[in-house]
């Protein structure tokens, strides 16, 4: 008892301190720990969500990069195929053009030959006509002095007739 008195232990003070601390602990829990824990949890949740979103964005970005790579690869392949096709087409077109040109030039040559043959034929006819004319004139001049007018007329008519027939043929 003496020790208790020496330390000033008193049941009323002890009870007061117990009740006082319990009240303070209650206030601390109710108005400090719970609201702050709520805030901490909310912040943690937001950070986790942001991290998740960032990870998702990263995944999407990686996907986009892959897609880009794939598209570039496809585009390159398509371009190569197009170039190859174009090369083949160019060669084909070149050959076609050459063939066309050859055919056209041959046609032109044939036309020219045909025209030349026709011209030659016409020219031949004209030359023949002219030579007949010249021959007639020569006959008329040569025979005028040798034969009488009637004979002349007969010879001339016969020769002319033969010439006309020849011309007609």
């Amino acid at each position: 008892m003496e020790i208790i008195q020496k330390f000033g232990l008193e049941i009323k003070l002890l009870l007061f301190q117990i009740v006082n601390f319990l009240i303070i602990a209650f206030i601390l829990k109710k108005f400090l720990y719970i609201p702050l824990k709520k805030i901490l949890d909310e912040r943690k949740h937001k950070i986790e969500q942001s991290l998740l979103e960032s990870n998702n964005t990263k995944i999407i970005l990686e996907g986009a990069k892959e897609e880009r790579k794939k598209l570039l690869f496809e585009a390159k392949n398509n371009a190569n195929t197009l170039i190859e096709t174009a090369k083949v087409s160019i060669v084909e077109a070149k050959e076609k053009i050459i063939m066309e040109t050859k055919r056209h030039s041959e046609q032109i040559l044939d036309d020219a030959k045909q025209r030349a043959a026709t011209e030659f034929k016409i020219m031949n006819n004209q030359i023949e006509k002219m030579s007949i004319d010249v021959s007639r004139k020569i006959i008329l001049r040569v025979l005028s002095d040798l034969f009488s007018d009637d004979e002349k007329q007969k010879f001339i008519s016969r020769a002319l007739k033969k010439l006309d027939e020849k011309i007609k043929n």
Partner: protein, 242 residues
């Protein structure tokens, strides 16, 4: 050397001592702090909220590391002990404690006593903390391990007499807990006060300064020790016995 608190006056047979006044000041400081914090709580914390969050988070994580899932009901008590003891210890370093005197009436005579004395230098307060801590520990033990598991700590029906002895030791350990809890805090703070008083009496200017820093350190360490021991005991008692 007087180690008990000085009675200033009484209200309806309730003795108001200088440590009671210090306790009430601690209460006012804590409640004011809660009011300041709770008004400005937001997702973007200000500096005070930031510091408080760091302290709360530290205790929460430490308790979680030690007690796992049981941290949710252990940490509020541990943190409350820490805050209350820390505030009570630190305000005792402020000027006015032990120096401002009050004329107390003691059986027809008036004597000058200090108006304010460190609340934790009162064994009533430290014993109250110890009792609350131990009772809560046992309450949580019954609640979370069950009444049967709780009693098997103290009473065992095994044939070897050593287990009966272990049970008695466990029981005496609980009594020792109360004594060690209360006297450790009380002894450290009381002795610190006496050292400071002696230093002030030897030379008031400069000399008490290193001791004051030491007292601040002791104040923090003692608050931490009390809180951590409570945490460990709560964890041990809420763990199912093997």
């Amino acid at each position: 050397m007087q180690i008990k608190p000085d009675m200033l006056f009484s209200i309806a047979n309730f003795p108001v001592t200088n440590t009671i006044i210090a306790t009430i000041i601690s209460d006012i400081i804590i409640i004011s702090f809660i009011l300041i914090i709770s008004r400005a709580i937001s997702l973007k914390p200000n500096s005070i909220q930031n510091v408080t969050e760091v302290v709360i988070d530290y205790f929460m994580e430490t308790t979680r590391e030690i007690a796992g899932e049981r941290a949710s009901f252990i940490y509020p008590w541990v943190l409350s002990f820490f805050i209350f003891i820390l505030v009570s210890n630190l305000i005792a370093q402020f000027p006015g404690f032990e120096s401002i005197t009050f004329k107390a009436s003691m059986s027809n005579s008036h004597i000058k006593v200090p108006l304010l004395k460190a609340a934790t230098s009162d064994l009533n307060l430290t014993l109250a903390f110890a009792v609350i801590s131990v009772i809560l520990t046992h309450y949580f033990s019954i609640k979370y391990t069950g009444i049967k598991a709780y009693f098997t700590r103290f009473i065992t029906f095994r044939v070897f007499p050593i287990f009966l002895f272990v049970g008695i030791l466990e029981f005496s350990n609980e009594i020792t807990k109360i004594i060690s809890f209360s006297f450790r805090l009380f002894g450290n703070i009381s002795s610190g006060e006496k050292i400071m008083e002696t230093m002030y009496n030897i030379f008031s200017f400069g000399l008490p300064l290193p001791f004051m820093l030491l007292e601040i350190l002791v104040a923090i360490i003692q608050a931490m020790i009390f809180a951590m021991l409570t945490m460990v005991f709560m964890h041990i008692m809420t763990d199912k016995p093997h």
